[in-house]
Symmetry: D2
Subunit: 358 residues, 4 copies
């Protein structure tokens, strides 16, 4: 199993790219919470495809239907299930993929795991489309966290070698109502965003795809959240973030850079500010010994380039074991990173809300 997450809340994601519906069940949310549905839909629309030239041109309304757990827009305390009906699916695009797995994609491992009867169309349960229900759960968690004064922000830190030319932490600390909602492309610097879009367009024209890094900042987390060893903030955020397709790495605070530093460079000195103990720097990303220290939690997730590319690739026929070549049919994002930004916020929110309820 795998499609459930959480100890104090439990999110279960169901559906395949082309099944009747995709959706989620969210258990453990208290009764009486008002969910701002417009705000939730606005959040979901940040992930939706077709937003700009670089995301897949499919039109998906992706409006969730709440099957249970809500009376109107108020939670009733028992499991919340929301489903998004699948429409506008073009399964025939995928016929060739039944026998020829796409390099870099889960087609092959899905075949090994689930056998011939797996749902290979559209990537099945492995499809990036399954991040839509993840965003429903995460969008609800984000609203509940805000009640506790916790806010989560993410941006594209880089696409290829192009960096978002901004101090993201400072940006959101200076303007806690910062939101990517009104942006077409989720960078702080519009100039950097423009360059990234050009780079993506260029690679798309070549029939290729690109990866990138999403950075996430969480403000307002009180000190003392998380546990040592296996249930620390890092462990639990990592377990959630690797639930997003295409993530291949995660780091907290200085992360891999910390391996290059000395203790005197990397340690965060304690000091007192406004009567509270804080750290002068935040190289640890707000986490010491797995437990939040009250400073902003900062992490970055590395996304590999979209495996579905238009270029011809080498593969193997599963039915005959013959080597062959494949040109992946269908419509695919040349870069899923822009759409992944709200998904990172969503899973961070789920992980945080779960930890807050330890």
């Amino acid at each position: 199993m795998s499609s459930s997450y959480g100890k104090n809340i439990k999110v279960t994601i169901f559906g395949q790219s082309h099944s009747k519906a995709i959706g989620m069940t969210l258990e453990g949310i208290p009764g009486g919470k008002k969910i701002d549905l417009e705000k939730l839909y606005a959040f979901l629309s940040r992930r939706a495809p077709g937003k700009n030239a670089f995301s897949t041109p499919r039109k998906e309304a992706d409006i969730p239907e709440f099957l249970s757990g809500m009376v109107g827009d108020i939670t009733c305390g028992t499991p919340i299930t929301a489903a998004i009906m699948n429409t506008n699916t073009r399964s025939q695009d995928y016929d060739i993929l039944k026998d020829i797995p796409r390099p870099g994609h889960a087609d092959y491992t899905g075949y090994i795991k689930y056998g011939e009867n797996r749902d290979y169309t559209g990537g099945g349960h492995f499809s990036g489309r399954l991040t839509a229900p993840l965003c429903i759960a995460g969008g609800i968690a984000l609203q509940l966290l805000e009640e506790s004064g916790i806010k989560i922000y993410a941006h594209i830190a880089s696409i290829g070698s192009i960096k978002d030319d901004a101090d993201f932490l400072k940006t959101v600390q200076d303007n806690t109502s910062f939101s990517m909602e009104r942006k077409d492309f989720p960078t702080v610097s519009d100039e950097s965003g423009r360059k990234m879009m050009e780079f993506i367009a260029e690679k798309k024209a070549e029939g290729d795809s690109v990866g990138g890094i999403v950075e996430c900042v969480i403000l307002g987390v009180p000190a003392g959240i998380g546990d040592p060893m296996f249930d620390g903030v890092e462990n639990r955020i990592a377990q959630a973030v690797f639930g997003i397709p295409a993530v291949k790495g995660i780091e907290f605070g200085n992360g891999f850079e910390a391996a290059w530093l000395t203790g005197s460079e990397n340690n965060d000195a304690f000091c007192v500010k406004d009567g509270k103990i804080v750290t002068e720097t935040n190289n640890c990303g707000g986490i010491l010994g797995g437990i939040s220290d009250g400073m902003p939690i900062v992490f970055r997730a590395a996304f590999k380039p979209t495996p579905s590319i238009a270029k011809e690739q080498k593969s193997v026929r599963l039915d005959t074991m013959e080597e062959t070549t494949l040109v992946v049919p269908g419509r695919h994002d040349p870069c899923i990173v822009p759409r992944a930004v709200p998904v990172v916020e969503a899973v961070a929110a789920i992980a945080l809300y779960d930890m807050l309820n330890d």
Copy 2:
């Protein structure tokens, strides 16, 4: 809670640096398995302190005593508990740490979480010493995995900017009986190791510490292990590896580098070799969609520099909230990375064995 890991087996780690004992309980191991205790002790000795000039000079026998679950050297199927009695502890070294938390360490977050009655001596439950019982569990898992043809290897990939000048994957693939056991310093290249030791010695002389990166390769994992979404190979290894103190990042396959590549560069073409489907490259680190593809699993973990350094640092008195300075007393590794190498193998083994039994 936090000190338990696993779905199909369960490892529970107990103890504080200076409690009567530290230890582990390992549930879910079948009866009738012969454990080679000499081999287990040899594995534990790789983690033990005092091995060279750069690890802490404390002498710890660290021979585990099996309290339950074994009849002689054979598992009996019910929970295995092993304890290591704590001796040679110098708690008075830590008196100053009751009120002044070490920058970069869990002293402060432990205080916030557990209050005045926390066991602050020696880092309490946050101490690196707790990786000893982790290695008991991992050492047992390693032996059981070998029965299934799975072997786990790790080395220091880098200390500061000094890299181990070797292709680690090729090294262990060419010589599957490769072991760090007979090495004083766990690098493939002795020359690189010597440089790393010099660098550590230099920083130690400055009263400072350094971090590094451990790379781990797992051979023999069949395709089809792990689950999509939250229980994938990446999620579960990450959850385990962040259980090692000082880890701040993890990446699989190309990891963060994948974010710089295009799909055509990063995708691993499928081909047929010896009648089996394999990939020409292994940029995905043996994992597609969270599921093993039968190729070697490769990951790297970033370790921050040891926070306990001899240099004077700024901190705050917890009792009076006054800013102060601190010179950390006691004996501390200037670099824990060499001793962390078997610990990475251990947690990888625990995670793998757990997944194999899904």
Copy 3:
């Protein structure tokens, strides 16, 4: 949380009596399993209301719609979600229950737990109607268990003081294709069933309700299933069976009667039959030390009488804290035991299938 069950499979039940839908998600079922949908619907119809004069006269098609996890009638390995759309609900019947909790029902505890915004209509998530999705999951598990040679049977052992005049274990052992499917009333003895129906009719005429006992037999369970202590067969079946509304007791084998016996009376002597070790008697209900011994598993669950009765009862207004009286509106089974019989089979199947996959 609460609406999830299982370690190796996971069943999550969602919905309220009058929400848009009720349903279930079932994780952990392998791909490639053909589900006989007709057989599943036939099983569900055994639980459906309106089957005879003694069940509630509401008409519910209760045909599940598979939203995910199936391609046609074949499982694809990823989470199976099925929903039953709610129609024919008469919420206005329940207006009075917003402020006046029904004695013996979860109205009051739901109010305490979830607050004013709970979904009180139709009992919300506590409604017996939620056993419909439980039967979807259980019906699938029953089919999968049959593949392994495991069959589950239940009957009404008693209603009030009227017993089913039959040796149930012998009945199903002699005829393993025994099924309640073609019966209007799930007793072995039609004469006993007739008497029970008369008794229920009599109590219904008085505006009252009755309880009863359901007995369940599981054939074909191999020896060695279950674990000692907290994950034994008894613990896990008990945890599942108390998930059925109205269950107030469970016993295995001789159960409470064992408390009256001596060891020499209650112990089951071992003997050899057809080259296999079996027991001469089965007083332990097929379970020793929490682990199956290869004999039939036998348990009984006690159901309290339906709390919703037509007689006037004393209650308290939640809004004013005034004592008052209540005549429960709406349509209610005078005895839910007949419809509970397949539900007991369903939860036993879920628990067994989960254990088989340990």
Copy 4:
């Protein structure tokens, strides 16, 4: 696995009857809790053998040694491990049991599950002796519950057909400091206790054993504890109580008797007392819809007679598959019910404390 219990706390029980030690790890207890060790030892002594003529004559100090998690008598927030060293074991008594399983005992199922290398001596991990560490965890939980105003009481409700001639609920409600600690035999009525002891002595003289029923009352539980469906108060207490060896049934409130009653007889009318909503009767045992209603929680557990009896019994040799007879060697309680009374309190405390922390 099986030897762990809990969602918010986690108790892990380890050890075999004759392993070096038996013990428990208790995770999730906050730091800074003072444990009254004398009180804990007094609680443990209620379970200890050799207290009267009817318990096994072995002398066991059974004083737990705290290996971790405590600084003196104060919890430090991280896992508490306590071990009881095994001494005075007479393993040779058990040689015959290697090949000939005792009827009614887990010898046979342990052999099936763990194979030839199981630890059969003294019942291994299935031994009633493992209830000692359960009582350490439970004794700690009892002290923590008392801080929240929750008290747990149990007594022998019956041995064979002899009942404790007392209204137990009223007894403890009238005297909330009631304790079995100063009693040799845990009944309210000394006269009933005397008769039970005579009956046990009589059966012991015949080389036989007897079972009984333990009743448990929990006072002070606030309304709103527990969850619907699978994590209700009944489910979770049942899962814990079936962890005690020899338990074959459990019932809450009227339990099995409720199956004989009508709704109007069994429903508990709501009324107002001292400004609070209470029920006039408590037939539901303080639980509606799986959730506590604020009334006393009442349950009863049925214990089968000790399987190890002196009478000759039929069994089968595991090595040759020949039918044979067995006279069980060693010292065994003719009735474990008196010693089980504190164990029932212990597991109820563990389950309650876990639920309180939902």
